[in-house]
C-alpha cells in the first residue's frame, strides 16, 4: 500500500481556491452595488394559472422590482438618519460617500472578477468594508459588523492566495 500523498504540491487546489474566492467576492460586491439601483413599482400584475400567465388578463395587486438609475440610494435612508445624528461622523463626507458607494462596489467587483490589478482591488475592497464597519460600529449594528468581519477575512484570504491567482487581465498590482 502506498503512503505517498495523492497531491504532492497541491498547486491546483490553491488555484481553484483563489478562483472561487475571487468569484465570490466579485459577485458579492457587484450585486450589492447593483441592488442600490433597485426599486419597486406597485401595480397590477398578471395572475399565473397553472404556471403560466392567464390569457384572460386577470391581474392582482402586487409590487414589481426593477432597476433604474433614478432608484439609486447608496446608504439606506434609515441608516443615513442615524449616521447624521452621530457626532463623530463627518457630515460633509456623508453625501459623497452615499454617491460613490454603489458605483465603487460595482467597479471593484468588476476588477476583481476580471483580474485587473487584483491585489490592489482586493485591498481597496477591504478598505471599503472597513469604512462600512466603522459606520456600523458607530450606530451599534453589531450583527452587521460581524458580517463585515467575515468579509474582511475572505478578502485577506484572497490576498494570501494572490500568488495562485490565474486568468487575470492585468496581473501587475
Amino acid at each position: 500500500m502506498s503512503t505517498e500523498p495523492c497531491c504532492p504540491n497541491n498547486k491546483l487546489a490553491f488555484i481553484y481556491g483563489a478562483l472561487l474566492l475571487r468569484l465570490w467576492l466579485a459577485v458579492r460586491a457587484i450585486q450589492t452595488g447593483v441592488e442600490k439601483y433597485a426599486g419597486t413599482r406597485s401595480g397590477d400584475q398578471v395572475v399565473a394559472v397553472d404556471g403560466a400567465a392567464n390569457a384572460e388578463g386577470l391581474t392582482a395587486a402586487g409590487s414589481l422590482k426593477y432597476y433604474a438609475l433614478e432608484n439609486y440610494h447608496g446608504v439606506p435612508a434609515a441608516l443615513m438618519k442615524k449616521f447624521q445624528a452621530e457626532p463623530l461622523m463627518m457630515k460633509f463626507a456623508l453625501p459623497l460617500y452615499d454617491k460613490i458607494l454603489g458605483p465603487t462596489l460595482v467597479l471593484l467587483g468588476i476588477t476583481i472578477l476580471l483580474g485587473i490589478a487584483s491585489r490592489t482591488s482586493l485591498f481597496l475592497l477591504g478598505l471599503l468594508y472597513m469604512s462600512l464597519t466603522w459606520g456600523l460600529i458607530l450606530i451599534k449594528q453589531d450583527d452587521g459588523v460581524s458580517w463585515l468581519g467575515i468579509h474582511m477575512i475572505l478578502v485577506v484570504m484572497a490576498l494570501a492566495l494572490a500568488e495562485h491567482n490565474r486568468f487575470g487581465i492585468l496581473k501587475k498590482w
Binding site: D44, V49, D50, A55, G57, L58, T59, A61
Partner: protein, 452 residues
C-alpha cells in the same frame, strides 16, 4: 433557369413583395388600414356622439386611459353636455374638439374621423350607428342596441353592408373576470358540473329609480327637442321610462345580464314567460317591477334562467348573475366583492385542492357555522358549501377592456368581442320580454323572433 428571373434584383423583389403584401392588406382588411392613417402618428380620431352620464362617466373616462386616441368631435343636442364634452376633452388632450348639435352636420364637415362612440338614448342608437357606418366610421355603440328589434336588425345589416366594425357595449364580454370564469372554470374545468339554473337581478332602491330633474335655465329649446324626437325636457331627461324611446328597465338593465345568460350557456332561449307591472311608479309607460323566466335547451340539458328588476333592494339586493350547477354555483358581478364560487357538498363533487394549488381558484375562509336551533330540523339542511374566489381581478374602469378590444380591433390587433351580429343574437330574446308581460302569455321563439 428563366433569365428573366435573374434580372429581378433583391431590392426589386423586396419592394414588390411589400407592395404585394400591402395589396393583400388593402383587399383583405380595408378597415385596418384606414385606422392607421392620417397624420402618420397612428392616432385614432374619435367622434363622441352623446356626452351624457354614460358617454362622459363610463366611456370617456375609460378612454382617457387608452393611448393613441384623438378626440376630434363632440356631438350632443344639449349644450350642457356638449360644453362639458368640449371642456373635458380640452382638459385631457390640450385641444378643443369641434362641437355639433346635429350628427349629420358633423359627418358632413369632419374629415379624417376613424370611429364614433355612440352613447345617445336607445332610440337614437340605430339611426346614429347606421349613419356613422355608412360614413365610413367604425362604431362603438352602447347597449341596448335599439328600442325595437327592427332597428337593431338595421344595425347588423349596416355593419355587414359597409364592412366596418361595430362593437356593442356589452362590456362584460371583455371583462377579464367574466372571460376567465367562462373560459377557464365553466368550459375549461367544468367546475359547475351540469348547469341547471341561472338567475340574475338588478334591483334598485326607490332613491335610485326616481325621475331625473333639471334646472329650468338649462332647458333645451322646444323646437330642438321636437326635432330630435322629444316631447319636452322631462322626456329628454327620462327617456328610459318611455315606450317609444327605450325598452324600459328590462332592456336598460337586463340587457347586460340576460346577455350573460346567453353567452355563458352558449345558446339562446327557446321561450320566455314574463310578468310585470307599475307597482310603484304608476304613471310610467314602462313596468317598474318585472320578472321573467327563459327556458333553454343546452347541450348539457334544460336550464331555466330567471331575471328580475325591482324597485327594492334591501334584501338580497344589488346586481349579479348566478349559474347553479350540480357541482358548484358561480355568482358573478361587475362588483368583485359581490362575486363568489360555491362548491356543492357531497361525495359526487371532485376535490378542488388541486385547482387551488395550481392557481385556478382561491379558497375563502369558511363562514361561521350557524348555531343549532330548536326551531329548525338540522337533517333537512345541506352542509354549508365551501366558498372560493377568482385568483384576481383587473384594475381598470369597468368599460375599459371592452373599449380596448374595440380600438385594438380597429388597429387590426384583435377581433371584436361583441360585434353587432353577436350582440343581436343575444339581445333578440330581450325584445320579447315586454310583449310577454303585456299579454301575460309565454312566447315560444322561432327564427322570426330571433333572426336578423
Amino acid at each position: 433557369m428563366n433569365p428573366l428571373s435573374n434580372s429581378i434584383s433583391r431590392r426589386d423583389f423586396l419592394s414588390k413583395s411589400v407592395a404585394g403584401a400591402g395589396a393583400g392588406l388593402v383587399l383583405g382588411a380595408p378597415n385596418i388600414l384606414r385606422a392607421a392613417n392620417a397624420d402618420g402618428a397612428d392616432k385614432i380620431h374619435v367622434a363622441l356622439v352623446g356626452f351624457g352620464k354614460q358617454g362622459r362617466e363610463a366611456l370617456f373616462n375609460a378612454m382617457k386611459n387608452i393611448p393613441g386616441l384623438h378626440f376630434q368631435a363632440v356631438c350632443d343636442i344639449w349644450d350642457y353636455n356638449r360644453n362639458s364634452g368640449v371642456n373635458s376633452v380640452n382638459a385631457f388632450q390640450g385641444s378643443k374638439p369641434n362641437a355639433y348639435v346635429d350628427i349629420d352636420e358633423m359627418l358632413a364637415k369632419e374629415k379624417g374621423l376613424d370611429v364614433a362612440i355612440i352613447a345617445t338614448p336607445d332610440f337614437w342608437h340605430s339611426p346614429h350607428t347606421v349613419k356613422c357606418l355608412e360614413a365610413g366610421l367604425h362604431v362603438y355603440c352602447e347597449k341596448m342596441m335599439a328600442h325595437t328589434i327592427e332597428a337593431a336588425r338595421e344595425m347588423v345589416k349596416a355593419m355587414e353592408r359597409t364592412g366596418k366594425l361595430c362593437q356593442i357595449g356589452h362590456q362584460r364580454r371583455s371583462n377579464p373576470r367574466y372571460r376567465y370564469t367562462l373560459n377557464r372554470l365553466i368550459n375549461g374545468k367544468k367546475i359547475c358540473g351540469q348547469i341547471v339554473n341561472a338567475s340574475a337581478q338588478w334591483n334598485r332602491s326607490l332613491g335610485a329609480s326616481q325621475n331625473i330633474g333639471f334646472s329650468k335655465k338649462l332647458t333645451i329649446d322646444q323646437a330642438v327637442l321636437n326635432r330630435f324626437g322629444y316631447k319636452d325636457m322631462m322626456q329628454f331627461m327620462n327617456w328610459r321610462t318611455y315606450r317609444g324611446l327605450s325598452g324600459g328597465p328590462i332592456s336598460d338593465l337586463g340587457a347586460h345580464q340576460i346577455d350573460i345568460f346567453n353567452w355563458f350557456l352558449g345558446t339562446v332561449p327557446k321561450r320566455v314567460y314574463a310578468s310585470g307591472g307599475n307597482s310603484y311608479f304608476k304613471d310610467r309607460e314602462h313596468f317598474d317591477n318585472m320578472m321573467c323566466i327563459f327556458d333553454y335547451d343546452t347541450p348539457q340539458g334544460e336550464v331555466r334562467a330567471s331575471y328580475q328588476v325591482l324597485t327594492t333592494t334591501s334584501y338580497g339586493g344589488g346586481f349579479y348573475e348566478a349559474f347553479m350547477g350540480t357541482e358548484a354555483s358561480i355568482k358573478i358581478s361587475e362588483i368583485a366583492a359581490s362575486s363568489a364560487i360555491y362548491r356543492e357538498s357531497g361525495d359526487h363533487v371532485p376535490d378542488w385542492g388541486d385547482l387551488v394549488d395550481r392557481g385556478y381558484l382561491i379558497k375563502k375562509p369558511a363562514p361561521p357555522k350557524p348555531e343549532a336551533s330548536a326551531d329548525a330540523v338540522a337533517a333537512y339542511e345541506s352542509a354549508a358549501p365551501d366558498i372560493y374566489d377568482l385568483p384576481g381581478g383587473f384594475g381598470k374602469p369597468a368599460h375599459q377592456p371592452h373599449l380596448e378590444n374595440f380600438f385594438d380591433s380597429v388597429r387590426g390587433k384583435a377581433k371584436l368581442n361583441c360585434d353587432a351580429r353577436h350582440a343581436f343574437e343575444s339581445e333578440a330574446p330581450i325584445f320579447w320580454v315586454n310583449p310577454s308581460a303585456l299579454t301575460k302569455q309565454p312566447i315560444d321563439f322561432t327564427s322570426e323572433h330571433l333572426a336578423v
